[in-house]
């Protein structure tokens, strides 16, 4: 994968539009940089859930944080509700961040262990001085009930008195009280048991419907991402490989990396599981990423062109975009685009 390009961006009103996002981190004083995110473009429509998947180190969390401007990206543009975030500063930025909230992986450590749970959920409202004290109380109680936490217990207890799943519910409540339009969930269920994971995923779906939320859902578990997302972007080493509607991506993965990821998932079915074989190797270093398509070093279909020329994202089906010179398939017949890519 390697794709750059913006063919997959849609015209019209997107709640969030990210273009050519680049995030680099210096490696000590060596002068080298970690290329965490290398020119990513994304858009999310209102009410849509965008899934970001990839292995650790692919830049998916960094992308989520760079959208929040935490830290600010090295270059690129992030337009949220029609305003450019990268140009904002000070109070304007703080105000904008109330409209986008984040939910983190570890629910226990993202809550202050010394405070009462109800106060934790109340705090954003207090900081922004929203409504009267009574209004705030009412709102907090309502949101807590919606996420399945007893407000009475929340006012008496600290985070350690709740289970991991409950703490994640509390984090969700805290992110909702300011009535955001975008929620960025960074691996929100990876630390939870499967039975609890299902509860939290269902809750997120319910809340999304009730509040008309737009979500970016970052996770490494493809089955989880498929379940909750409308559209999925697959990332590898700081680039986007493939973007498609959730069902399309899983039915007809076009990028070889997506295919590999799908093949690697352990399937809870002994008949399917035994036929599979893992691919070799591990992701290369983002300090010195491979030339051309960044996946070519591990790709089963890599050819000479792949190491020389970086593929651009192009459309191979309705709303299905891939950045690959020789995709697994591209619509009806397998596409072998030996000449110059002519796709839309």
């Amino acid at each position: 994968m390697a794709g750059t390009g913006k063919a997959h961006l849609r015209n019209g009103e997107a709640l969030l539009r990210v273009e050519d996002l680049v995030v680099q981190f210096p490696v000590g004083r060596t002068g080298l940089v970690v290329n965490a995110v290398s020119g990513i473009s994304l858009d999310v429509l209102k009410g849509e859930t965008l899934g970001l998947v990839g292995e650790s180190g692919c830049g998916k969390s960094t992308t989520g944080r760079a959208i929040m401007q935490l830290p600010r990206p090295n270059s690129g543009s992030v337009q949220f509700e029609g305003k450019e975030l990268t140009a904002m500063a000070g109070d304007e930025m703080r105000e904008a961040r109330t409209r986008m909230q984040m939910i983190f992986q570890d629910p226990v450590s993202s809550l202050n262990p010394r405070r009462k749970v109800r106060d934790i959920v109340m705090e954003p409202l207090t900081i922004w001085d929203r409504g009267t004290k009574a209004d705030r109380s009412k709102l907090v109680d309502r949101v807590l009930e919606e996420v399945g936490i007893d407000p009475q217990r929340a006012s008496e207890s600290q985070p350690h008195q709740f289970s991991g799943g409950q703490c994640q519910r509390i984090s969700i409540a805290r992110s909702l009280v300011l009535d955001p339009s975008l929620i960025i969930c960074d691996e929100p269920v990876s630390a939870l048991d499967v039975s609890v994971q299902a509860q939290v995923l269902n809750l997120l779906e319910d809340l999304k419907a009730r509040y008309g939320l737009t979500m970016i859902f970052i996770a490494h578990d493809l089955a989880v991402v498929k379940n909750i997302s409308d559209r999925v972007a697959v990332m590898y080493l700081g680039k986007i490989c493939e973007v498609a509607r959730s069902d399309d991506l899983y039915h007809e993965p076009a990028h070889h990396y997506t295919n590999v990821l799908l093949q690697s998932i352990p399937v809870p079915d002994p008949d399917v599981a035994v036929q599979r074989r893992a691919i070799e190797g591990e992701p290369p270093s983002p300090v010195l990423p491979p030339s051309g398509c960044r996946f070519h070093t591990r790709c089963p279909a890599a050819a000479a062109r792949c190491s020389a020329e970086e593929p651009q994202l192009r459309e191979i089906g309705d709303g299905h975009f891939v950045a690959c010179h020789y995709p697994v398939h591209g619509g009806e017949a397998p596409v072998t685009v030996r000449s110059s890519g002519t796709a839309a």
């Binding site: 048991d193 269902n202 809870p268 002994p270 599981a273 691919i279 591990e282």
Partner: protein, 357 residues
């Protein structure tokens, strides 16, 4: 279990490992935690057993009880653990040292913290060879290099001189496997060996474990919360809940005809890659039981959709299913008349309970 030989002699015929009513309780200020509460099973040579359960089900404590890796202070151990026909449940750490490495070895979840960051990889692999097998320095180093090749690490001779931080997570887990294999154990424990790894690397490590097991005719106990992981890599599966074994069956039988509503619920709560996007998940309501005050009857009853009065008061014993190798602990198992009746009743009433919905 009656034909087991007298203590001391190696029993080649019987099962490699046999547990009878094993209990591990911890004394805490809250009271006695019944982490493992009466588990019996046996494991044959060369077989792979998966132990599946949620966090707090006792799966890790069970494997550590067998390995004798629990603190002696505050721990109450009961029941019999026979390994190669010999009782090891009552051995202390000193006596277990003769078993660790050569007979049993363990791989842990986190390859980042299980290796010594200050010691070269080579020395860490050579250490058990020198201690347990009495090899000399040069011989151990050579064997270490071969072991690294066995776990498919490229440039093995160069890697021996590297430190753990120079390796990726997947490589470190391979090194852990090499260390565990070093003395040719007959039984390998892998406690969530791939949870900290990416999916592509996870698949590689699981394949590697499987290959090594077959090559060395080793038995494997794979402890995990992920039914997907055990499906392709085990012969048998034991499902634990609240410190008890609630179902055990050959892998294929379990997935085809699970009996225990808990196993079914666990299976249903996993998002399936083949389901369309936004498929409603069937979550299990509630939480795992408190092991200081476990429920009276079936420990899963408070969360079970099919539970009846009897389930709340009487503990179901482990009974045999149609397949003699399949056992489960449930009064009204999946497929029974009561199960179907309860299911029909549930279908009529809209789902309101915390988890189911």
């Amino acid at each position: 279990m009656s034909n087991i030989t007298q203590a001391g002699t190696r029993d080649v015929e019987g099962p490699l490992l046999e547990l009878v009513d094993v209990k591990t309780h911890f004394k805490t200020h809250r009271g006695l935690v019944r982490a493992v509460d009466g588990v019996s099973f046996s494991l044959d040579r060369g077989k792979a057993l998966g132990i599946v359960g949620e966090s707090g089900s006792g799966k890790t404590i069970l494997s550590r009880s067998i390995m004798g890796l629990l603190p002696s202070k505050g721990t109450i151990r009961e029941g019999s653990i026979r390994f190669e026909g010999k009782e090891i449940g009552n051995l202390d750490r000193k006596q277990m040292r003769g078993i660790w490495g050569r007979e049993m070895a363990m791989i842990f979840q986190d390859p980042m913290t299980s290796l010594n960051p200050l010691m070269k990889i080579g020395r860490q692999i050579a250490e058990p060879l020198r201690i347990h097998l009495g090899m000399d320095r040069a011989g151990a180093w050579q064997t270490a290099e071969r072991l690294l090749q066995d776990v498919r690490i490229s440039e093995a001779s160069r890697r021996l001189n590297q430190y753990p931080h120079e390796l990726s997570g997947g490589m470190r887990q391979r090194v852990m496997i090499a260390i565990a294999m070093a003395c040719g154990p007959t039984l390998l424990f892998a406690d969530e060996p791939t949870t900290a790894l990416d999916v592509t690397v996870q698949a590689q490590i699981l394949d590697l474990l499987n290959d090594q097991r077959e090559e060395r005719n080793m038995s494997l106990i794979l402890v995990t919360h992920d039914l997907g992981v055990v499906a392709g890599h085990t012969d048998e599966i034991a499902v634990m809940y609240g410190g008890k074994l609630v179902e055990k069956a050959p892998t294929k039988v379990l997935f085809a005809r699970m009996k225990m509503p808990y196993t079914e619920a666990l299976m249903q709560s996993i998002p399936k890659i083949d389901d369309p996007s936004h498929t409603r998940l069937l979550a299990i309501g509630g939480r795992p039981p408190d092991l200081v005050h476990p429920p009276l009857g079936c420990r899963f009853a408070p969360r079970c959709l099919y539970a009846r009065d009897k389930c709340q008061t009487e503990e179901p014993p482990l009974v045999q299913a149609e397949d003699p190798a399949h056992s489960y602990a449930c009064w009204y198992p999946v497929g029974s008349a009561e199960y179907h009746e309860a299911k029909a009743r549930l279908a009529e009433t809209p789902v309101t309970v915390g988890g189911r919905g």
